[in-house]
């Protein structure tokens, strides 16, 4: 990463670890064959892809035959939701999701809502949790799919997936979870969770960008999203991205091996940052669940100031963070997630997401705290809201 940047946006993306890149390199060069070809260059790659599939399956507690490679978390979310909705359309046309999903889920649901499906968006409580009772009440005989993310990308809240999945199952619906933020950060075991479909994305756990996977429980039928060649057992076309597949498998394997120590480290950094911010800056608020959250996620609102300005000033201090999801920046509206947990618009606008990761140290947190104190002060001095709140 950049020499002096303090990177606090691991939830947006991560670099590819050196050992992961190293594992990928041969597949760009000598071992470049098409995994569908029958000669050695192809067969060897088929074997490498199969081994990677097995590694990913092992990390997720799945069977290799249940893992399908995609080009991103977004593609996997699209495939899972459109694919299940369409494959089960004769059974019903009601879908359930939550109000705080990633756009890769929400916008798919919106699209389906325009094509003859009905979508219920479950509310969340002030901590960002979906209530199992609320899901139970929303289930209908024509509900075919429930999609609720495992961990939120903005506020880090972790949902009670196994409970929610059981309710969906009891109601005859499939259950999909977007585990893009969870995988590599907390334990993800498809059997424990009891889910039918689960999405992961390589670049969130120090793997490469442009590769993801969808877990599809044996027996679950999906309409195909990318038609064409017979790759991925005829269910997802396109010449296999062998380096990407190898890289994602290596990265997930490493992450799974180090899950505990990684989590402890991130938790310590987060708690230090949280304690520092709350003790040194007034009018701040923690967003998301205080404890049931991703270890590396810290989301704070700083009243009277606006998030983008905060980000820009942090950037000038070589600190990279995010205000809401990086994926939704460029929009004028504040984060739908922060609104869904009940923040007023003006507070939502002034939120900052710090997502800690591998390269961070306690010293980074010290720098962060000093910078935040200075910048928040400066922006509040400039703010007509702070002025009037002081009157």
């Amino acid at each position: 990463m950049g020499e002096k940047t303090i990177y606090l946006d691991h939830a947006a993306t991560t670099w590819t670890k050196p050992e992961v890149l190293e594992a990928m390199i041969p597949y760009f060069t000598e071992s470049f064959g098409n995994a569908s070809s029958i000669y050695r260059l192809g067969r060897d790659n088929r074997k490498a892809v199969d081994a990677a599939r097995a590694d990913i399956a092992r990390s997720l507690g799945a069977d290799p035959g249940e893992i399908f490679f995609t080009a991103s978390g977004s593609e996997a979310d699209n495939w899972a939701i459109k694919g299940a909705a369409q494959a089960r359309a004769s059974k019903g046309r009601h879908l359930i999701t939550s109000a705080i999903e990633h756009p890769a889920v929400l916008n798919v649901c919106e699209y389906l809502a325009k094509s003859g499906f009905e979508v219920t968006y479950l509310p969340v409580d002030a901590d960002g949790l979906v209530s199992p009772d609320v899901l139970k009440a929303a289930m209908r005989p024509d509900t075919t799919l429930v999609s609720i993310m495992m961990a939120n990308n903005e506020i880090g809240t972790i949902q009670p997936i196994s409970e929610l999945a059981a309710i969906a199952k009891a109601g005859g619906a499939l259950f999909h979870t977007d585990a893009v933020q969870a995988a590599g950060n907390i334990r993800v075991d498809v059997r424990e969770l009891g889910v039918d479909l689960l999405t992961i994305s390589g670049h969130k756990f120090y793997g490469p960008k442009g590769i993801g996977a969808l877990y599809v429980k044996k027996g679950v039928k999906l309409e195909t999203l990318i038609h064409g060649g017979h790759q991925e057992r005829g269910k997802r076309a396109g010449t296999e991205n062998v380096p990407g597949i190898i890289g994602m498998a290596k990265a997930l394997t490493l992450a799974t091996e180090n899950l505990e120590s990684h989590g402890e480290k991130l938790l310590a950094l987060r708690q230090k940052a949280l304690a520092g911010i709350t003790s040194r800056i007034s009018h701040v608020k923690l967003n998301g669940h205080p404890t049931t959250r991703l270890p590396g996620n810290l989301n704070m609102s700083f009243q009277y100031i606006e998030g983008e300005s905060l980000l820009l000033m942090l950037d000038m201090k070589n600190i990279a963070a995010s205000s809401g999801s990086a994926c939704t920046s460029g929009s004028l509206d504040p984060s739908h997630v922060l609104l869904a947990i009940g923040l007023p618009h003006e507070i939502a606008h002034g939120s900052l997401r710090m997502s800690f990761g591998d390269a961070n140290t306690e010293a980074d947190v010290d720098v962060l705290l000093d910078c935040l104190v200075e910048i928040v002060g400066k922006l509040r001095h400039m703010s007509p809201l702070y002025e009037s709140s002081m009157n």
Binding site: Y304, I305, E306, E308, S309, L312, M313, M316, G330, S331, L332, P334, P344, H345, E346, H349, H381, M382, S383, P384, L385, E387
Partner: protein
């Protein structure tokens, strides 16, 4: 995404603050939309002697506020009233499409402060109406018509 000029005015905003017993004060935008601009004017003999601002908003909001105050200081009221969002944008070497509304806000903040001045001095006509505080009134849906933006050209 921002020009150097914008970043300069964001990093070192000119004329931050307020003016005690200002001759005109205008506030536009609202916190709901993420942008509030408040402009204070000191006016003598029809000339804007000083301008200050306070802004809650994104980098572009701060920069347009800063630039707007720069542009009107020393100008007559009539000259200041003719300063459009386009002029502010041009002075900043442009703004990203998604941020054009900030320059509109700056134009309206000036207008609101001048209206306040005229009201205080009994010069305002009845019909005059400033920003209603809702971004919708100056932002998003009207933008395309008023400012000739082409959604397709974005980015």
């Amino acid at each position: 995404m921002y020009s150097e000029k914008v970043m300069d005015h964001f990093t070192n905003p000119r004329n931050v603050g307020d003016i005690e017993a200002a001759d005109g004060v205008g506030q536009v935008g609202n916190a709901k939309c993420g942008d509030i601009m408040k402009i204070y004017l000191k006016i003598e003999n029809g000339i804007i002697l000083d301008a200050k601002f306070k802004t809650f908003g994104c980098g572009a909001a701060v920069a347009t506020s800063s630039m707007a105050t720069e542009l009107i200081i020393g100008k007559t009221i009539e000259e200041a009233q003719k300063i459009t969002n386009k002029a502010v944008m041009e002075a900043l070497d442009g703004l990203p499409t998604a941020k054009v509304h900030c320059s509109v806000l700056a134009e309206e903040a000036i207008a609101a402060a001048l209206l306040d001045y005229r009201k205080k001095n009994g010069l305002a006509t009845e019909e005059e109406e400033g920003c209603n505080g809702c971004c919708g009134s100056c932002g998003s849906h009207d933008l395309h018509m008023h400012h000739g933006l082409d959604e397709e050209n974005e980015e």
